[in-house]
């Protein structure tokens, strides 16, 4: 009976066999990279907003406190986006002729809301609460980055669950004194872990098992 496969098939079959595993692993790796890339997570992407609002100017230069606009950050799950009225508190006096601000004035005149693009978008089955994080000593910049240096706002972290869990598993790495929560210039001290452990105790932050329970964020 003649041979069906030439001897070269030995090599080909081995390459194919192992190659397919390598290829599968490669594809998987590409997928995982893609999911974590800014293309997948939206990190660093600047959205077109009705008004090119600059946090750099308002926070970094003028030094307006976060809570002047995001009023409900300490009391509600949602930090709150300022109503047009809040903009007009100042802009009925300054920059009244600015073209850039025309949509704001128009909104105020016509009583029609500005439609902002959401920058930090969580999936519908994830329930994040600002108030509890602020009260437990998680600073604004921990998640929102150096927003005081952002001329246009973009998302800093990946917002993947692994990113959330990083902190929920080790809150002592990120927690800071409550009075520093809204401080954009805050830098974690050298003894962060030591301070963090102390604050975790002081602020009664639940143990990692509790705050990594699924229903803490998913209902």
């Amino acid at each position: 009976m003649p041979q069906i496969f030439p001897p070269a098939m030995n090599i080909i079959s081995k390459v194919t066999l192992f190659g397919s595993f390598v290829l599968a692993a490669f594809i998987l790796w590409v997928c995982l990279i893609l999911v974590r890339s800014s293309y997948g997570t939206g990190t660093g992407v600047v959205h077109v907003q009705p008004v090119p609002f600059s946090h750099e100017h308002h926070v970094g230069v003028l030094g307006i406190d976060c809570r002047y606009c995001h009023t409900s950050v300490e009391y509600s799950s949602f930090a709150g986006l300022p109503p047009t009225k809040t903009c007009m508190n100042c802009h009925s006096q300054i920059w009244v002729g600015s073209n850039m601000l025309e949509p704001v004035r128009e909104s105020y005149r016509t009583n029609r809301s500005l439609r902002w693009q959401r920058v930090y978008s969580l999936p519908g089955f994830t329930y994040f609460d600002h108030s509890i994080h602020v009260h437990k000593g998680i600073g604004c910049s921990t998640c929102h980055g150096q927003i005081d240096q952002m001329p246009l706002t973009f998302q800093v972290p990946s917002l993947l669950m692994e990113w959330c869990l990083e902190c929920h598993r080790n809150p002592e790495r990120k927690v800071r004194p409550r009075e520093e929560v809204f401080n954009m210039k805050y830098k974690p001290p050298a003894n962060q872990l030591e301070l963090g452990r102390k604050l975790v105790k002081e602020y009664d932050i639940d143990d990692p098992a509790t705050i990594t329970s699924c229903s803490v964020c998913h209902r």
Partner: protein
């Protein structure tokens, strides 16, 4: 013939089984009782329907090809790593004062049902009402709600509500309607309104009553008629007879030791029923006696009724009599109490109940001043009259019974009023008929032939929330605003003035009745708010008027005007009251062989006005557990005599489809076809039908365009015999019909799931409920086996962690379903439809199992057992999930992670309690814009292929714990109310932290009555039950 044999066989088997059984035997259905081979085979078929039921006729080949294509497409689609498209945030321009984005607000308002108001608090998310809770400060609610209150939110968002003004089916504007009405009214003005008739439902709003009086002053010869199919005519007639005036009767159950309910379902249907349940149960809560069983006391309830009601099911003694026999029974009780009532024995057909009668009469007389006799609205005036007389004789008046003036006295006769209207219509006297709410074309007594007579009216105007049967018979249809969209006020059952305030601008073009009445009165269009406020200002006392704004704010805040109940009035029984018991005014005892037809408002869709509400249609009726249908309900032996029996099961034993025989019900030459339902405990030779079904123009849910839900029992209902009628003929048709019920679902084999004892037994053995487990432990110790053994690593729930748990008091649960619908509203639970319920796929996270004891012909006791997820500490579901979609939280919650679930359903198969629900199809409505508004934003809306189940309202736990944490305090006991607990009128559910020694749930679980469901499988459920205790009369229970 074979049917008859089947049933006879079933019953014989049941007898045999009971004969051999030791102790009390609980059963859920006739088939379970009889253990018929066919039934058992179906029960043991583990997957009777899941693999075989398609929503349409899709062939296997077609399915496979579609599946392959969708798999390929799904694979490609799933490759996208792009996050969801960006969404908008739309802030306010000028923020309203109270709203804090993300936090719900609660507003007090009132909901009108069955002619009286119940105070509610409505949850609003950024201006969008999502959930209704009871108002704890309102006397008619005390924080509780019923199914109608819970489901009202869905009606607000009902896409089938009428959206525009219509003239002969053509869309018009309010301006057109106003012009047409003005013209017609101008003609009437010249005739002093001679040709003007208005037909409304019960006027509950004092402002509307004032507007009515103004309108009638402007049109002195006009008439205002009032009609509602479920009315209290009998009660008011009797009150006229007894006291010479129209009074409302109120009961104080807190003072009553012995209660006799004569066909009076005070737990479910009397105005004020939520309050009555609470009062009644306040005398039965053994849990409040702590560990001291010897001192435990309970009131005692006797119920006499034809069908089985929730009140009857909770009664310590229940006697099934035909509706027509209840009068003679009442006479016999009266006679036994020493009242000359013209009848001393129960009719021949009720013979054999003398002992019962004697015991009741003796018990009542032994508790003079502390007893109570109630007559149901379905019973004729004579029964009410006798109840008044017995209460009077027993010295109960002023103690357990109180009278107040009917607040809208003189306008309480419904059927008579409609009759007058029908005569006027027939004479052609009516030129302008305005129908203000209600649906008389559908629900008026059939003998009045209202629809034909209406045709003689040249201009007919209908004002109502739906473009319904009546609207189709009118020239103009004007849309009515929902109560959450309009201002009004209302009177509670005791007369308490309650405010109705809107939470949202009308979604459609609806207006309130106040606005329409202003128009009819010829005044300039005034917003309802102005009209209501103006009356409140007018009626304000000088003190209130001094700072009216503050007063008005306080009324809006509380939802009611405190202490505004009708004052009590002392009335005396007229000397000659007995003459009304004479001939002609009483019901004749039905002949023994005659069949009797009894009408009953549907327990979930009421008189038909809730027909388009999917939550209510799918809510299982408390006793029959039927959904999406009504039926001719009869007792097993009546069915046997008529040669009818349970038909075959549609989809397997655990699942709820039944093919039932269809019969033709003939009464006074009118007939309807109805499927049969066999209900143990129903009176013999009596057949109950629920009103409210068979709607022709209800909407896509309740019936429209030729598709109907159930049959229309109004077609047999006459003005002479509105509630029950002898002389029914029943003709089998040989056809069958599919009924969808939930009683057989998730059958729990032969275990001690419900535990109960009498008060005497409880006093002697307070820990009877824990007995089986104690015995088991003893046996295990003797055998030397470990009581609790598990291979899995345990969890640590020690304080300061929370250990959430629930306890459910079976003595308290009245089976009213408020929890079921409350859960549905809170947790975005979809409606699945009749076909799916028949396949056992209903989605309710909490179900109420009904159990009976005794024989099929004479069940002795009924029990209700609500079953939510048990949140087992050793949860069987968790171990089998391949993707960790159901996992344990550190606080002991059994979490369900929807986005991990791949739909293997292993968890459901491994759940011994069968509380997991699977989205076999895309049940949730993502697309109807209004329905999307209803969803609770704190709970994920589940998609197809995902398992779900009770979460202990984890969103409420998180909300409370975050609030407590940010305020730096512990969570207070009672701060977290699960949706079922909050709605429960019976306070049967307690939820809280078991680690908190001061918590209510800790106290309940410490009761001797506390037991776990299926404790022997060592799941350590967090939800436990307090065994039911009854207080039967020793003289009756000993045989």
């Amino acid at each position: 013939m074979s049917c008859r044999k089947d049933l006879a066989g079933q019953l014989a088997a049941a007898h045999e089984r009971l004969g051999g059984a030791r102790g009390k035997q609980y059963w859920r259905s006739l088939d379970e009782l009889a253990e018929t081979p066919a039934f058992m085979a179906l029960v043991h078929n583990e997957f009777p329907s899941q693999a075989s039921i398609w929503p349409d006729t899709l062939s296997r080949r077609k399915f496979l090809s579609l599946m392959a294509a969708s798999l390929a497409l799904g694979g490609i689609g799933g490759c996208s790593v792009k996050p969801a498209p960006t969404v908008n945030i739309v802030p306010y321009v000028k923020p309203p004062r109270e709203i804090e984005p993300g936090e719900p607000l609660f507003f007090a308002t009132s909901l009108t049902h069955a002619g009286s108001a119940v105070g509610v608090l409505v949850e609003s998310h950024m201006g969008r009402p999502t959930k209704i809770e009871g108002n704890p400060d309102h006397p008619a609610s005390r924080g509780a709600t019923d199914v109608f209150g819970q489901a009202a939110i869905l009606s607000l968002y009902d896409p089938d509500r009428s959206q525009t003004v219509a003239h002969l089916g053509q869309t018009r504007t309010w301006e057109d309607a106003e012009a047409a009405l003005r013209e017609a009214l101008a003609r009437q003005r010249d005739k002093r309104g001679r040709g003007l008739r208005i037909l409304s439902e019960t006027v509950v709003s004092p402002t509307l009553a004032a507007q009515r009086d103004e309108l009638l002053a402007a049109f002195p010869d006009a008439h205002w008629h009032v009609y509602e199919p479920v009315n209290r005519d009998s009660m008011y007639t009797a009150s006229d007879w007894a006291f010479g005036r129209q009074v409302d009767t109120h009961y104080d159950f807190t003072q009553a030791d012995v209660v006799l309910a004569l066909d009076a379902d005070f737990m479910m249907s009397l105005p004020g029923h939520l309050r009555y349940v609470d009062d009644f149960l306040s005398r039965r809560r053994l849990r409040q006696h702590g560990g001291n069983a010897a001192k435990a006391t309970m009131n005692r309830l006797y119920a006499v009724e034809p069908g089985v009601s929730c009140t009857g099911a909770k009664a310590d003694h229940r006697l099934a009599l035909r509706a027509g026999q209840i009068e003679s029974f009442a006479r016999a009780v009266a006679t036994a109490c020493g009242i000359e009532s013209g009848g001393s024995v129960i009719g021949g057909s009720a013979a054999g109940n003398e002992k019962w009668l004697e015991a009741v009469a003796a018990d009542l007389q032994a508790h003079r001043g502390r007893s109570l006799v109630l007559a149901g609205d379905r019973q004729p005036p004579a029964v009410h009259l006798l109840a008044h007389a017995i209460n009077d004789r027993l010295g109960n008046v002023g103690k357990t019974v109180h009278y107040t003036d009917a607040w809208d006295a003189g306008r309480t006769e419904r059927t008579a009023s409609l009759k007058e209207l029908a005569e006027a219509l027939d004479r052609g006297d009516v030129e302008l008929l305005v129908i203000l709410g209600g649906n008389p074309v559908y629900n008026a007594p059939v003998d009045l032939a209202l629809t034909e007579k209406m045709q003689k009216v040249p201009l007919r105007v209908h004002f109502g929330p739906y473009d319904d049967e009546t609207a189709r018979q009118c020239h103009w249809h004007l849309p009515e605003a929902h109560f959450l969209e309009a201002w009004s006020d209302a009177r509670a059952y005791d007369g308490t003035q309650s405010i109705v305030q809107p939470l949202i601008e009308p979604l459609y073009q609806g207006r309130s009745a106040h606005e329409l009445l202003t128009l009819l009165a010829g005044a300039e269009p005034t917003p309802g708010y102005e009209t209501v406020r103006r009356r409140w200002r007018r009626e304000a006392t000088t003190e209130q008027a001094a700072d009216f704004e503050a007063f008005w704010e306080s009324v809006l805040h509380d939802g009611l005007l405190a202490d505004s109940a009708q004052p009590r009035r002392s009335v005396t029984l007229a000397d000659n009251w007995q003459r009304h018991l004479g001939a002609g005014k009483t019901t004749a005892e039905p002949a023994a062989t005659e069949l009797e037809l009894v009408f009953e408002p549907d327990p979930t869709i009421y008189d038909g006005s809730y027909a388009n509400n999917g939550w209510l249609q799918e809510c299982p009726k408390p006793l029959t557990k039927l959904t999406w249908d009504n039926a001719a309900i009869m007792s097993p032996s009546t069915a046997e005599q008529l040669g009818l029996a349970h038909g075959g099961y549609a989809h397997g034993g655990e699942h709820g489809g039944y093919h039932m025989p269809v019969v033709e019900l003939r009464l006074n030459s009118r007939s309807v076809r109805a499927p049969v339902w066999i209900m143990p405990g129903h009176a013999e030779r009596s057949i109950t039908v629920h009103l409210g079904h068979g709607r022709q123009q209800a909407g896509r849910v309740g019936g429209a365009d030729g598709h109907t839900v159930g049959f229309n029992a109004y077609l047999l209902r006459t003005s002479e015999q509105p509630w029950f009628a002898p002389g029914l003929e029943l003709v089998p048709t040989g056809e069958t019909y599919l009924l969808a019920g939930t009683q057989q679902h998730h059958l729990m084999e032969n275990r001690e799931l419900v535990r109960s004892a009498t008060l005497g037994e409880f006093r002697d053995h307070p820990d009877f409920a824990a007995e089986p487990e104690r015995k088991q432990r003893e046996e295990q110790t003797q055998r030397g086996s470990l009581a609790i053994a598990t291979l899995y690593e345990g969890f640590n729930y020690e304080a300061p962690k929370h250990k959430w748990g629930m306890a459910i008091d079976l003595s308290a649960c009245i089976g009213c379903n408020a929890c079921v619908v409350a859960c549905q509203a809170e947790n975005n639970i979809p409606v699945v439809g009749k076909e799916q319920v028949a396949a056992g796929r209903e989605m309710h996270w909490i179900r109420i199992d009904r159990y009976s004891t005794g024989t099929a012909e004479k069940p002795e006791e009924f029990y209700f057992q609500p079953v939510p997820c048990m949140h087992c500490e050793n949860a069987p579901c968790e171990y089998v999930c391949p993707v960790e979609a159901t996992v344990h939280s550190s606080e002991g919650l059994n979490d369900m992670v929807y986005n991990r679930c791949v739909g293997t359903r292993f968890c459901s198969n491994n759940c011994p309690y069968k509380v997991r629900r699977f989205n076999f199809f895309h049940y949730a409505d993502y697309h109807t814009p209004t329905l999307r508004l209803q969803y609770n934003p704190d709970v994920t809306v589940r998609s197809r292929g995902v398992m779900e189940k009770c979460s202990y309202c984890v969103q409420r736990i998180r909300h409370a714990s975050i609030n407590a944490d940010t305020e730096g305090r512990p969570i207070a006991d009672g701060e977290i109310l699960t949706a079922c607990q909050a709605a429960c009128p019976a306070t049967a559910i307690s939820f809280g932290d078991i680690n908190d020694k001061a918590s209510q749930v800790h106290a309940w679980k410490g009761q001797p009555l506390n037991y776990s469901l299926l404790a022997d499988v060592n799941t350590l459920p967090r939800t436990t039950y307090l065994a039911a205790v009854r207080n039967p009369n020793g003289k009756l229970s000993e045989e």
